[in-house]
């Protein structure tokens, strides 16, 4: 091979972006087609530098828009090789058309989405508004809480997406700036370990196999469209989770790091819990511990796999809890929160039917403080004590002005 391996220390100090870039190098991506956007840019800059320094072999196609980035990724993936890119926010929004095309064509592209708010007003900081644009696009969505996760979940993503029983694209989400630009200790894999875990890319229906011409991206109308969409949904619902679990299990054997489809912390005897995504999971874990010292049995549930939605795992994790706060880091814009609705839907037919309330927080990168969470857990305990939701169903926390609540 005509590239050099890189000697890494057992623990490197990396931010989430560089961790993702290192993962892309280690799996030896064949083609990256990308367009820069804050805060995800350093991922593809990192790949470009690795290429320039001879640590990876492949083609880096610096296109003229995010739509073209995913279009190029689709063409490259259909041609038959390992493909990845990264984006955020407005760029992700511009990509949306092609997200559906990539998944409908069953192409295992990996997209690192560094979550950021959506304009207007323009904002470069982290919230989860953009990731919900990918919610119905037929992609697998994994969520990182810290740079270590951003690194590790990329390997999981390639392993699952490229599996011939799956053949679906996968996003790895991390919080803009809070993860992407915050350096932490990241435990590394050696280049050989990382590549070995993901394995060689095995092409299927590849356009560059000239002896077996394939037509990609056909037209289907009312006679076949439904069957195609139903099959894709079926595979998302039935095939992905077992593969994700198997990849998590193998990864634990390799590294000792254990990931779960739904991450439960202090949930064995919890009365009250928050359900959230991203960096907030770590903040909530800190606060839950402190609440326990005060006598409130607090827990945290973090979503690790957002699509396919872990319906059964959520039901199991929240089975015995009495009050739940669902935290939405995106503007609900005229409805209960996106995550709130998912959790409510999962719990509706359960026996426990814990008291459920929703909190909108952190838009445009506004901090979620420990004080916010202390107040929140206290409210949840009050709900438990009263046997009903004592607050409005939807509250905004950390926003200036008069207290904002609905429903």
């Amino acid at each position: 091979m005509a590239f050099d391996k890189m000697e890494l220390r057992d623990i490197e100090v990396w931010d989430g972006n560089f961790a993702a870039a290192q993962a892309l190098r280690q799996v030896q991506i064949d083609v990256v087609a990308a367009y820069p956007i804050t805060p995800s840019t350093p991922i593809v800059e990192g790949y470009a530098k690795f290429l320039a320094d001879g640590y990876v072999e492949g083609e880096f196609v610096m296109v003229e828009s995010e739509h073209a980035a995913m279009s190029g990724c689709i063409g490259a993936s259909a041609a038959g090789g390992r493909v990845a890119t990264a984006t955020s926010s407005q760029g992700f929004a511009l990509m949306v058309e092609t997200l559906y095309q990539a998944s409908g064509m069953r192409l295992p592209i990996i997209l690192n989405v560094v979550n950021r708010a959506l304009a207007a007003p323009l904002n470069v900081n982290g919230d989860h508004s953009d990731m919900y644009l990918g919610r119905d696009s037929g992609w697998i969505q994994l969520d990182a809480y810290c740079p270590q996760d951003a690194y590790d979940l990329n390997f999981i993503a390639f392993r699952v997406a490229e599996d011939h029983d799956v053949r679906l694209p996968c996003m790895v989400h991390q919080d803009g700036f809070m993860t992407s630009h915050t350096a932490q200790g990241v435990k590394t894999l050696t280049d050989d370990q990382a590549y070995g875990f993901v394995g060689d890319f095995k092409p299927m229906n590849d356009m560059l196999d000239f002896d077996h011409p394939v037509t990609h991206g056909v037209q289907t109308e009312e006679d076949w469209h439904f069957e195609h969409k139903a099959r894709q949904h079926n595979d998302l619902m039935t095939k992905v989770m077992p593969k994700v679990q198997a990849a998590f299990d193998d990864f634990e054997k390799l590294t000792g790091r254990k990931y779960n489809i739904v991450e439960s912390y202090d949930m064995d005897d919890a009365d009250v819990t928050v359900v959230c995504l991203g960096t907030s999971v770590e903040t909530a874990r800190e606060v839950a511990k402190e609440m326990r010292a005060k006598g409130i049995k607090a827990g945290v549930v973090g979503i690790r796999v957002f699509r396919p939605f872990p319906f059964e795992e959520i039901k199991a994790a929240l089975k015995n809890v009495k009050a739940i706060a669902v935290l939405d880091r995106s503007s609900p814009n005229g409805a209960p929160g996106a995550l709130f609705n998912e959790i409510a839907g999962a719990l509706y037919n359960t026996e426990g039917r814990a008291l459920l309330s929703g909190y909108v927080y952190g838009l445009g990168g506004r901090d979620l403080t420990k004080k916010h969470l202390v107040d929140l857990y206290t409210e949840l305990q009050a709900n438990v004590d009263a046997g009903r939701v004592t607050t409005p169903l939807q509250q905004f926390i950390g926003v200036r002005g008069p207290k904002l609540s609905f429903l």
Partner: protein
């Protein structure tokens, strides 16, 4: 380096191994299929093809059928160029890494798009592909209208044409803007080869396609595609209308090498008046009313001026 396919005559050309099946849903008399066949038959090399959303795409890849006996991809309306560019990038990557399944082949990367997909919605994507210098050919099937969606104007629709979104009416002669000069724009990208072709002049077409496939870098081909449905002529007249298009010089056949060297490749022995070209098509019918006849005169003047300009460019070699 692949060998250039030798073609003796039309009979041999029309019966050579065909990677685009006659079984498709294009209108009887549609020039698209003729152009595609002429492009594909110009080479024996393997092909990686793309089509943007449009007549060609919806009529040739309706599940569970396909008209394509070559690798083919469709993504969307605007990104046929980038689909092929992505595949070309993968080809380069796998070649470098020694992972091509058939490393001895010389595939050609070709994207087809209508004028709507090329002059309008996919313009940025094409410009990006050409600026980056992908080794690919982009072929516009230029029928001067959004034919697949029922005849809306594009930026290729010529002045005076009646389109559904620029209809001729009691107080309007139809389309008000002149056709965008994509040839000049693509030549300005510094592309190694830019050419206008027409399916009636098949030898000229084959020569240009073969030249385009032989050069390194992005090649732009604008193909005149007479549309029986939207231009409003009888399906059996496609070639007659196309003859009028080239012989009236409304569609002059020429090439631009490296952005500067312009060669006229077809000089009609008898130049036909533009009026005859217009009169043969329903989309221009209203121009023959007394109040709009000045537009026909202006049209002739525009065609003459363009022909004059092309000849001067050819002579100047700049």
């Amino acid at each position: 380096m692949s060998e250039i396919k030798k073609i003796k005559n039309l009979k041999e050309f029309s019966t050579s191994a065909d990677r685009f099946e006659g079984a498709n849903l294009l209108c009887p008399g549609c020039a698209h299929s003729i152009i595609v066949r002429e492009v594909l038959n110009a080479t024996n090399d393997d092909l990686v093809l793309a089509a943007s959303t449009g007549c060609l795409e919806v009529c040739t890849a309706v599940y569970p059928y396909t008209s394509w006996d070559a690798s083919w991809i469709h993504i969307g309306f605007e990104n046929g160029s980038t689909a092929v560019a992505g595949a070309e990038a993968m080809y380069k990557a796998l070649k470098t890494k020694g992972r091509l399944k058939q490393p001895d082949r010389n595939p050609k990367f070709v994207a087809f798009g209508g004028d709507g997909a090329s002059y309008d919605i996919g313009f940025q994507w094409i410009s990006g592909c050409f600026e980056r210098g992908h080794n690919m050919m982009y072929v516009v099937l230029d029928n001067e209208v959004y034919a697949n969606t029922g005849g809306q104007r594009s930026s290729s629709t010529p002045i005076g044409s009646s389109a559904t979104t620029s209809p001729a009416g009691r107080v309007s002669y139809g389309e008000k803007q002149n056709k965008k000069d994509m040839m000049a724009i693509m030549a300005a990208h510094g592309a190694p080869y830019v050419a206008q072709v027409s399916p009636n002049k098949w030898k000229d077409m084959v020569k240009k396609i073969q030249h385009g496939m032989a050069v390194e870098g992005p090649v732009f081909i604008n193909a005149v595609s007479a549309c029986t449905t939207e231009w409003k002529f009888a399906p059996e007249d496609t070639m007659a209308i196309t003859d009028l298009a080239t012989d009236s010089l409304v569609f002059p056949l020429y090439e631009i090498i490296n952005g500067t060297e312009l060669n006229i490749t077809y000089r009609p022995k008898n130049v036909v008046p533009v009026e005859e070209y217009l009169a043969a098509q329903g989309r221009f019918k209203h121009l023959f009313k007394d109040e709009y006849k000045y537009l026909i005169k202006e049209w002739q003047e525009r065609v003459d001026a363009k022909w004059d300009y092309l000849q001067r460019r050819e002579e100047a070699r700049v």
